[in-house]
Amino acid sequence: MELKSFAPPELQHLLDLCTSIEETVVNVRSMGEDYIVTTTNIQRFVDFAFRILDEYIKLIKEVVHIEKEAVLIRNDAAKAYGVFLDREGKPKDVFKIFEDSMSKGTMSYFFPLYVTPIMNFVHSRIYDSLIETVNKSQKNFRTFFVQYTAAKGGIYPTIEEKAMIPPPAAAKSEGEEEAEEK
């Protein structure tokens, strides 16, 4: 992946994890249409998935200093991990989730349920925003990266929406006019 070379070293670890989670999923799917799922594959997949979430939250904490926005971005990412988390947001015991389907041998039917949302999170939030940040600028890479990921979640406005919002000077003048009329 050539795009990875543009990213700074602080962000390199997250991208390495993303590529490795892709490799595990591709390896499992390459076995056939009714693919075989083993315990090692699942454990590897869950490990990578949670490490990506940890790195992602760590990045947000460093860049975003407003608590409300940071919580919104974090909750948006956690929705992909809905199967693995409690209502409070704490991780469940992974063995309990897979206990039934592993013992009955129906893991191949349930595996896409765990895989697809997390892979969509990786593609839509991390890779897409990486491409946009590379096109945008090389300075302040991390801040732009977080802004684009938040914009995809609908938390920050996108560039198109920013153009629609009037500048603060125009809004002030309207308020002053009203005050003068009174």
């Binding site: 919104l72 929705k79 697809t116 969509n120 999170f121 995809k152 979640g153």
Partner: protein, 104 residues
Amino acid sequence: MSLLGFMFRKKKEPKLGYWVLIAFSEEAKDKAVGNDFLKKIYHINGKYAFKVENYSSVKEKHLRKNGVIMVDRTVGQLIPKEARNIPEAKELLTRLQITKVIGD
């Protein structure tokens, strides 16, 4: 307007302005998985979609607050409804892998 023209006149279709449709993606229908990350928002003007976005609950709130007309096809569905349909016979036959047996 002549009489025939009056009798066989076409009904005018109501003009649809800007509206928004929320639906599951094709990946979700294919794999029978439902999640917020597998939904999509279609921005439509009249009949034609001009923009497709990934879904997020914050975006939906923002659109609803601004009074945009919204059609949500994912209400009350953990799994997309289309995933439960039985596929056509043609589609089933294509998935069969027929192999030649040599020696018979």
